[in-house]
Symmetry: C2
Subunit: 699 residues, 2 copies
């Protein structure tokens, strides 16, 4: 503070609130460390100055004395009795534990024709969003705090910021500008958001903090490193009779969304296939490393990689085509899974049939003359699992006097294009073009409650809310039109920017004229609508058995990857990925294809390239894009996207999710293709050249 130009400085001692975190039962964060620093990167102090140079100079002047504590970095070690405790109240550092036990898994194994058990490891990953996080805070003269921040969940950030600062939520406004990518990592309240808020309140001036790439990778969120054991028993015909999955996730220093992760890892094992006896143990373990949290496919990708790889091993063991094995176990429409998931729509069988047909599966598989291989995998995901304090999505719609429509939604477009999809839904209902709909979103004060963008919920929840509001507006306008056109409201139809009377197609009014007339007609009225939606067929899973239908619908996908392996360098090139996806009815085909391509690129990074490396003190060793490599456009495979979905009864116009479900099966499809190409089975990700070469040597 003595350095000229420094406007405010703060530490955890300035916090007037309590611990926060995205799950009520695991609130363990303070933003700025108070008594204990739990990993290298845990923020302890922040300051604001007139410019960056002064701020950096002032930071050098801060002296911190640390008392060194014993630490533990490996999840298995951290679970041992006597290991140093990261949070004193969590014995053996077990942050979260979830177990399932449906049917009789021992009986299942006993009656199996073939049983095998395998171990897998999925590495730590960065979301690697191209736009680093930034937050701008301003506290006005009334004490009202406004935070502009690149988040997936303005309402969630507001709630946690309220806890952290001890300020009522009504005194905080969170505004989400355009966000350049989130992938699950921008759902939690982050320390720089707390720091910017504290500094703005102290300085009484706006304070902005932008993270560097190094900070982005080191001190935000990672995909959990996870070790997975899978034991599966099948009949002679390849029917899965029993499965036991055990996951141990390294969560780093704070819980984030670990409870959901631990539940999801078990849950998502029961989506793609019919399994009548299933046991699951899932652990999320605290360690003195950077924090893990949600990332695209939250908790599903790691066990899916393990199970789908093992299914290929089993297929080989029993001499069956891996696609055929999957087809024999595929979930069908109308099924209720053993843990209570209700599948009102499911086209997985069709997906497997289409994807093998189109990819040339039969011809390409098992060729020994070239180092090319082909692999298949399946997956499925929720369309918004039951959440916490904000469950439903809400929206408002207003029609302007010149026929333009404003949709106000709390949901957050984080680059996935949800605003386009919502505009399409409203436009479709009102017979307009999407460009006629202005979407306002992600402001806790002017847009209505929405939990945020996670769990693949936006199109399903916010889309249904928008549809409901659009229908309310349509009813109002139809009543008006009926008066002008001497018809009944039920006979009014909306299309091509006009309203028509059914059975009398010559009678029309332009939508914009109808809007103008409706607003000034008679006593005058406003054309407004509201919608709020959550599926009525879901419940929280039972606290003990974990039984319960947690989502209103489920997506399904099958994909086939083709790779070429350079047997001299060990390098794997992803040539082509064919995806058959049941995301219900596709609303925005460009958006769907974009999700498919993005999932392939991200899955490719997961399978082949990316790897967060930890040093001997738990620190991240490769926090830059020079050292942490992600696939670029030059690495991109040819992606073929096949729509195989049928409309879901609950989805808006029958749509389900596509943002997360696809990436889940990309990784095992690639790993299975490597095996098909060169006979090397990779069980620890990523499949880097040195691992392939070692496999080739061993073979």
């Amino acid at each position: 503070m003595a350095l000229p130009g420094v406007k405010a400085a703060t530490t955890g001692a300035d916090l007037r609130g309590q611990k926060y975190g995205p799950f009520r039962s695991r609130r363990d964060e303070t933003g700025l460390a108070r008594d204990k620093v739990r990993y290298i990167g845990d923020p302890v102090a922040a300051l604001a100055a007139v410019d960056e140079e002064t701020a950096l100079e002032a930071i050098e002047l801060i002296k911190i004395e640390y008392e060194e504590l014993p630490a533990v970095f490996d999840a298995e070690e951290a679970m041992q009795e006597g290991a140093p405790l990261i949070h004193e109240e969590y014995e053996r550092n077990i942050c979260a534990y979830r177990n399932f036990n449906f049917g009789d898994v021992e009986e299942g194994f006993n009656s199996s024709f073939h049983v095998r058990e395998d171990h897998f490891f999925s590495q730590g990953l960065s979301h690697a969003v191209l736009e680093p996080r930034a937050a701008l805070a301003h506290s006005d003269s009334s004490g009202k705090l406004t935070l502009w921040t690149g988040t997936q969940s303005p309402y969630g950030v507001r709630q946690d910021l309220s806890l952290a600062l001890g300020l009522p939520a009504s005194k905080i406004r969170v505004i989400k500008p355009f966000v350049g990518g989130g992938f699950g990592g921008k759902g939690d309240l982050m320390p720089h958001e707390v720091a910017a808020s504290l500094l703005a309140m102290k300085a009484r001036q706006p304070v902005k903090i932008s993270l560097t790439r190094e900070e982005e990778i080191s001190i935000t969120r990672l995909r959990n490193p996870m070790s997975i054991s899978v034991k599966t028993g099948v009949s002679k015909e390849g029917v899965i009779l029993a499965q036991y999955v055990k996951c141990v996730a390294n969560g780093g220093a704070y819980a984030s969304t670990s409870v959901m992760l631990t539940y999801n890892s078990g849950l998502t094992c029961l989506i793609p296939y019919r399994i009548s006896n299933f046991k699951y143990d899932g652990y999320m373990i605290y360690t003195n490393r950077a924090v893990s949290g949600a990332m695209r496919g939250h908790g599903a990708n790691q066990p899916r990689f393990a199970v789908e790889c093992q299914l290929d091993m089993i297929a080989e063991d029993i001499g069956m085509d891996p696609a055929e094995l999957r087809l024999r176990n595929a979930t069908q429409k109308g099924d209720t899974s053993i843990n209570g998931l209700v599948f009102n729509s499911c086209e997985l069988s069709r997906a497997i049939q289409e994807v093998t047909k189109v990819s040339g599966w039969e011809e390409k598989r098992g060729r020994k003359d070239i180092n090319r291989g082909i692999g298949i995998a399946c997956g499925g995901f929720v369309c918004g699992a039951r959440g916490g304090s904000h469950t439903a999505s809400a929206c408002f719609i207003q029609v302007n006097e010149e026929g333009g429509v404003v949709l106000s939604t709390g949901s957050s477009d984080i680059g996935q294009g949800s605003e386009t999809t919502l505009a399409q839904i409203v436009a479709e209902e009102l017979g307009l073009s999407p460009s006629d709909v202005t979407v306002i979103s992600g402001d806790t004060e002017t847009t209505p409650i929405d939990p945020g963008t996670f769990s693949s919920r936006v199109t399903f929840y916010a889309g249904n809310a928008a549809l409901q509001a659009a229908r309310e507006v349509k009813r109002s306008l139809a009543e008006m039109a009926a008066k002008f056109m001497e018809a009944t409201a039920e006979d009014i139809e909306f299309r091509d920017h006009k309203v028509f009377v059914k059975y009398a197609p010559d009678k029309t009014i332009a939508f914009k004229n109808l809007a103008q007339m409706a607003i000034s007609f008679g006593q005058g009225r406003s054309i407004i609508g509201k919608g709020q939606w959550a599926p009525q067929n879901t419940q929280f899973p039972d606290k003990i058995t974990r039984y319960g239908n947690v989502s209103g619908a489920y997506s399904f996908a099958a994909q086939v990857a083709e790779v070429e392996v350079d047997t001299e360098t060990g390098e794997v090139k992803l040539i082509k990925v064919t995806i058959a996806d049941d995301c219900g009815r596709v609303i925005n085909i460009l958006g769907a294809e974009g999700q498919a391509e993005g999932s392939v690129s991200m899955g490719q990074g997961h399978a082949l390239l990316e790897n967060i490396l930890f040093g001997d003190r738990g620190q991240i060793m490769n926090p830059s894009f020079l050292e942490y490599k992600i696939p670029t456009a030059l690495d991109m495979a040819d992606v073929s996207f096949l729509e195989v979905g049928s409309p879901d009864p609950l989805g808006p116009y029958g749509a389900k999710e596509i943002g997360e479900g696809l990436i889940i099966s990309t990784v095992p499809a690639i790993i299975n293709a490597i095996y098909d190409a060169v006979g090397v089975r990779v069980t620890e990700l990523p499949a880097r050249p040195e691992k392939i070469l070692e496999g080739l040597r061993k073979r």
Copy 2:
């Protein structure tokens, strides 16, 4: 543009739209003059530069060649055949003409005991808002234009800006920040708003224009100078048998809200008193002077001043107490006026009785021993007259998970405190405190349609919309509470931040807990409500007869002013004003008293002090607070405010208007008091010392 630092320059030639103006039938403005400059001050060019100094330097470099045209400045002259035409399409420069003819006015005069005709003149006034107008425009890369501007009508500004620029309204967003006073003058789209928008679109950078005080007074809006003739006939008992009023308003170079003004001047003559034979001719005349427009009491103040002064003359003529004369003619609850106004509530008689009692009318009137006098006047006003393209007010309400409530309204608080009143209405309905309600207002994209703040409509219209939305929210919450409390929704009551079960006062839930439970209970839901309201008992007045109930309710007031006149200097000191007001039920007593005090201060300026002086070329001669004097705190009279209203059946909680109705009778009460003090009758405003001295000399 050649001067370094200049970013953009524009003239009317850049306009791609059409003429605009607040009334569809009188659109005559372009913002920047195109072919013709109509008064000294009519803007012709604008530029934007990096700083004010550079901008001022660049402005000096602009050369304008004017071809001088014949001009006319006086309204009566402008109406003569052969006078230069300000707008070619308006013969004799008659911008607006409205006439009423109800009953048989000639027959009324013929049967009168006493008839007199008098002439009056009300001067031009500035709104003298303490905050000069400012506008900030920004056009983003998508071509979307955002305008932050201190306006009374964001939706109105958007509509006219859309016309001016030829840009669809959906491509324009208007945001109203806090506004430091409007008084009717900030309802129209202003040239600087057009200029800032054009410059921002050209410069592709934000452009801000702030008016100087000189510009505020010279080139925005004025209260119309008006000459008024009144002929009134009364019976021996003082009952008004016939009245003829003729108003000629000088409108300056553009129409603004002249049609409404011309109608209002006639309309408001028929509010306070029962008149069975009434004739009216109203003219609004174009001249080459600065533009007149709406100002507090729009069109009512000038004829009211005339009529209320003449009533005092008549009372003297027939030897009757002026208060008694008014009492004998006062409108009563249940009346329908001869032009169709329906008075569902009216306490004018009580107002006259109370105000005379409390002010000591009997004792103080007619004292000849001191130069003190006392005067009375009455008035009445609409609560939002039927408007144009946006008639209803709309709002949205959302309850947050922590029990805070957000009210989103399109209505504009311009310093009158309407946001407080709306928060009170919502809080009252939900059993909360106003501080629990956050009000978001005046943004065409995030807050729903509202015509704006004019015609004293906000509490009546937006208040009812807020009440409707609050009741919708209350129903949702009551249904939830009923489930938790095992009661029926009808038996749930909201008060003291809690909900109760009627007949079982021990059963309670805190409001904030109910909100939280409701939002996450069962399948989860959002607690949102919407409201849209316009009175159902109004109609546009008939196009020929002008018959029709234009407002859902009417306010009434009687006030008594006491003055002391210095017979040596001619100076009039306003000592005390006692106001008895029927604004229905008062919602915000501080706000109501503020309106009373503000009306007295502004009326005092109108009666005694303020006067826009025009030069021989129509230019304003006194465009600064050095030369244009407004009353200050030191000039303030003692104001006594008496509530005499009873709840109106349509008003929210029974409230009517108070923003405009009061000032209407302040001016004649003061002028009548001067006559009572020293026997000088002022018929031309303002009653400056020289006029008093001249009157004293003549007497």
